[in-house]
Amino acid sequence: MGVPIFITAVTNCCWIGADNCVILGILGTDLSWISKVQVNHPAVLRRAQQVQARRTVKKEWQAAWLLKAVTFIDLTTLSGDDTSSNVQRLCYKAKYPIREDLLKALNMHDKDITTAAVCVYPARVCDAVRALKAAGCNIPVASVATGFPAGQTHLKTRLEEIRLAVEDGASEIDVVINRSLVLTGQWEALYDEIRQFRKACGEAHLKTILATGELGSLTNVYKASMIAMMAGSDFIKTSTGKETVNATFPVAIVMLRAIRDFFWKTGNKIGFKPAGGIRSAKDALAWLSLIKEELGDEWLKPELFRIGASTLLSDIERQIYHHVTGRYAAYHDLPMS
């Protein structure tokens, strides 16, 4: 399972940056809990099924929750054919995610509802920064980096990619981890790499994408989450959206439990970002209640919870439209993003 090596990695904290030594100092006093970690796959699957069936919100509650969900969205476009015009449109949608009259009807027009960030490829960061500036808002720009989505490039170029994106004005960096290090059990090396990502980010927030669809087992997901958090990630993120299996509830449950364990051990709250495959308003509600159930209300704010999505926003807007008007919207009733 590679756990003994992992423990070595952590106890050798002398070569780790001083800021992190505090955390490791706390963890270092009692490491037995990590080696005891067991993730039972079928039990997690059952929990994942239940959590969706046991909570639901209706009427005003649904509308309010959906608006809240909007504020968690990292509005994303990650396509080969992205150009400055569709990035600009995306940024405008990020600033005005829900039609003004709908917000007014809900008496929410003065709440300054925007998405949490826009997320683009490094080459489109400049476009996004410029567009958002033009729209007169301070929505952060997130950039994917480190050889997204596969991470199969040289470490040197991956680090350089982060630095360039930060230079271009990205204040959040979504890095992908090197899956081969997880699958071969090189936890020490994984830790080291993420530390370097962290350093390269400077002031920018680091979101670490675990690409859970390619990690093989839930136990690996738990361990990778733990390493990513120890190495200084501000967020851990499920997937790139490019794997065959993306953000699923079982994986999320394991990651959320890791976040909770980390919080209990160190007092540090790490954020969570599911991404990929979250398309419907109903999904979004389920994700919100999952966070509420597993981590509690403290995590339900954009600093600690994001949803990476592109088409989700328009479905939420449709649901809000229906809530307000009592009718289902036609395609042309809502502005495109």
């Binding site: 993730v39 079928p42 039990a43 919100v57 709908l102």
Partner: protein, 777 residues
């Protein structure tokens, strides 16, 4: 486009708090259905509503608001008689149908449920107060699946269940007052048209149970409820000639080891008690090394539970009415007074019908509360140090319903799963159900089964079983039956050669003098004194049961193959003794040829059971579950057998062989008139089998029966003797609710394979355990 047609006054506020709101499930259809009955429910008999005049009625209330939903008529004896009459008439048609036709009907009923599922689940949730999610997502689909499963069985019954026949009488259900869902189900079944009388539902108090049971034609009574009610019913129905199966109590057990995925196990606790899935509470055993961690996680999890109206789609737990709440309250107060710590949490409305999720710890093991059944919605946590200790604690209660084991170490999980004396064991899961897997229990949880193959045999009997004869002796005095042993005096000179076996009781592998130091004379067929056998008594039974208990672990640990080999050796020894045994039988009036045949058949039986017991237990495949469910056949434990007077050797061996082959240890009382052949066999047992495995106690049959039937540590009892004895055994078995098998004074053809070595013996000689093994990585 004017958008503001509907406003959301609270949206702003909710946007900040992100609280849950009410998510009510409409129960309009349930009310509409009650309206079709004018809010006045009767009984559903023979495809029609039965609303007799001049009956008391009880209100059916919403347990949360206390609102009167309907009034329910209370049945009286005449109504019960009418229902049974309807069922008997229906039986004539129903039982002669080909299986395929019955299968078709069951499938139609399953579809009927599917068509009206919303009505069923809202009605059930409305009147019981249980979370609608559980009724909708589990109960209703399970009901359909059970019908479909049995439809499949009905299809194949002519081949698969050849040699078995229905017990007779179709179904009459007596439901507690004010539970309309079974009535609705009966109506749905009745409206299928073809066989109106196969399901009849009457509502009335439990006190009507014996009235229902005593109706002519009733062959079988199945009871679900509290342990004490079951015990009382067992006593009342003694001697009525009925099969009684009990499913009692609702407490469950969860065993959490240090190798567990603790977060998942905590969810298991929620499934077990705080999700309205089960009726009862939970005993939670936690390995000491993970005690603190588990308690922290459990308490954090409890804080997020939501309690509220059952018909709300976003609650974990509903309310169960005043009685359940008071029971929980009483238990908690008592536990506190006995020194326990109580932790309660969750989002619970403050008004009265609700009771919060409750975790009790530090309850001293010797306190009265630690012994009693844990009620809903309580969890009583206690620590253990090792797996061995966990088993001792878990098995140290009279209850044997269901349990789950949480451990990621395969070896440990299996060790615990096999070691628990429970009807159902889930590994790393709790509360899974499937129609193909039998659900039941052992010990005081009652040994009745539902679903799976065991559920089928509950309602079948070997073809040719004589019809029930009411044999109740009203004047049988349970206090004095078999209490006194008639004194024996010297009975004249012994004629002929004196018996070969040494004098004494065969206990713990050797012949011992009886505690009473007295003897009883045995006469041959001519009335001459054949010899004396020891007069056993209560103390001797105690010693024999103790010896059997000591031998049990060793015998259970043997592989079926090793057991078969020993039985084979015993068979060979019997063969060598053939002439002596035949002579002995001849002296008791058996023709030599017949006597020889009896010995030969006995030898065959020993060998046959050894071979049969090799193939035990099998795997069931369950839909939607990755991984197998093992249907294990485990020994009952210490089995007491009172052999019939007839066939002194053959009946003795025919009963002994399946009992041993299935891993039981036995205490036998041999034929009263001719015990000597059995004692003769014991000489070989002494040299071949481990000490204490087989114990044979001679003496007054009634007295010995009394001692064994009242012995709390005898796990099962087979009785072949008088009508009164059978009645007494049934009555006395209520003490520890041991499964009993009595002949009610009827003779049995031991020389016929169907009755002397049929599958019925194998079914009775072992108990089932369903071991769930979900898999995945």
């Amino acid at each position: 486009m004017a958008a503001a047609t509907r406003t959301a006054p609270r949206a702003r506020e909710i946007f900040t708090t992100l609280e849950y709101g009410p998510a009510p499930e409409s129960h309009a259809c349930a009310l509409a259905w009650l309206d079709t009955q004018d809010r006045h429910l009767g009984h559903y008999v023979n495809g029609k509503w039965l609303k007799p005049e001049h009956r008391n009625s009880v209100p059916c209330q919403d347990p949360i608001t206390g609102e009167n939903l309907a009034s329910c008529l209370q049945a009286q004896a005449e109504d019960v008689a009418a229902a049974v009459e309807a069922a008997r008439t229906a039986l004539e048609n129903w039982s002669t149908l080909p299986g395929a036709r019955r299968a078709q009907h069951l499938t139609r009923l399953a579809k009927m449920i599917q068509k009206h599922q919303r009505l069923l689940w809202t009605l059930e949730s409305l009147v019981t107060g249980r979370a609608v999610r559980e009724v909708r997502d589990r109960d209703v689909p399970l009901a359909q699946q059970l019908l479909q499963y049995h439809a499949v069985q009905a299809h194949t019954q002519e081949e698969a269940l050849a040699g078995w026949e229905p017990m007779g009488c179709t179904v009459v259900v007596l439901v507690p007052p004010a539970s309309p869902a079974p009535l609705l189900l009966a109506q749905l079944a009745g409206e299928l048209g073809s066989f109106p009388g196969i399901l009849n539902v009457i509502s009335g108090p439990t006190s009507l149970g014996p009235v229902l049971a005593s109706q002519p034609g009733v062959q079988k009574v199945a009871f679900c409820g509290a342990v004490e009610e079951g015990r009382a019913l067992r006593r009342t129905l003694a001697g009525q000639g009925l099969e009684l199966s009990l499913a009692l109590g609702a407490e469950s057990l969860l065993l959490l080891t240090e190798a567990a995925d603790v977060d998942s196990a905590v969810e298991g606790v929620v499934d077990a008690t705080w999700s309205d899935r089960s009726q009862g509470g939970l005993r939670l055993l936690i390995q000491e090394s993970v005690w603190d961690e588990t308690m922290t996680r459990l308490q954090a999890r409890m804080g997020r539970l939501r309690v509220g109206r059952g018909l709300d789609g976003a609650v974990d737990m509903g309310a169960r009415g005043a009685a359940a709440r008071d029971l929980a309250q009483r238990y908690v107060r008592e536990a506190q007074s006995q020194g326990a710590q109580v932790f309660q949490a969750g989002d619970v409305p403050s008004d009265s019908p609700f009771y919060p999720p409750t975790l009790i710890s530090d309850l001293p093991p010797a306190s009265p509360c630690a012994q009693t059944e844990v009620p809903w919605p309580l969890v009583v946590a206690s620590p253990f140090r090792t797996a061995k200790e966990a088993l001792a604690v878990a098995n140290g209660t009279p209850r044997g319903g269901s349990a789950s084991v949480w451990s990621e170490r395969l070896g440990q999980a299996l060790e615990l799963g096999y070691g628990l004396r429970m009807g159902i064991v889930w590994i790393n899961a709790h509360g899974l159900r499937d129609p193909a897997v039998p659900t039941g229990g052992c010990k005081e949880s009652g040994s009745s089964w539902h679903g799976g193959p065991d559920g089928l045999y509950e309602y079948l009997q070997p073809s040719g079983t004589p019809a029930r004869q009411p044999s109740l002796s009203e004047n049988l005095n349970y206090d004095t039956f078999g209490l006194a042993v008639p004194s024996t005096l010297p009975a004249g000179p012994e004629t002929g050669p004196s018996p070969a076996p040494p004098y004494g009781l065969f206990v713990g592998g050797r012949f011992q003098a009886p505690g009473a130091r007295s003897s009883r004379p045995i006469q041959d067929s001519h009335g001459n004194l054949h010899g004396y056998v020891a007069e056993g008594g209560a103390k001797d039974i105690r010693g024999a049961v103790e010896a059997a208990h000591q031998a049990a672990p060793g015998w259970v640990g043997q592989s079926p193959g090793a057991r078969a080999a020993l039985l084979g050796a015993l068979a060979a020894a019997l063969e060598r003794r053939e002439s002596a045994l035949a002579a002995r039988l001849e002296r008791h009036g058996v023709e030599l040829k017949v006597a020889k045949a009896e010995v030969e058949l006995s030898v065959r039986r020993l060998r046959a059971w050894g071979a049969r017991a090799q193939a035990q237990g099998h795997t069931l495949q369950v839909a939607e579950l990755r991984g197998p469910v093992l249907r294990l056949r485990e020994p009952l434990g210490v089995l007491a057998i009172v052999c019939p007077d007839e066939w002194p050797l053959l009946a003795f061996v025919s009963l002994l062989a399946p009992a041993l082959a299935h891993g039981n240890t036995v205490v036998l009382v041999p034929s009263g008139t001719c015990p000597i052949p059995a004692l003769e066999v014991c000489q070989d047992v002494a040299t071949l089998l481990p000490a204490g495995l087989v114990n044979v106690v001679t003496g007054d049959r009634d007295h010995l029966t009394r001692c064994m039937a009242l012995h709390q540590d005898v796990q099962a009892l087979w009785y072949f003797g008088s009508v009164q004895g059978s009645q007494f055994v049934e009555w006395a078995s209520a003490g520890n609710l041991k499964p009993v098998w009595v002949n009610r004074g009827l003779p049995r053809a031991w020389d016929q394979d169907a009755e002397g070595a049929g599958p019925e013996l194998g079914l009775r000689a072992a108990q089932t355990k369903a071991l769930w093994l979900p898999m995945g990585d």
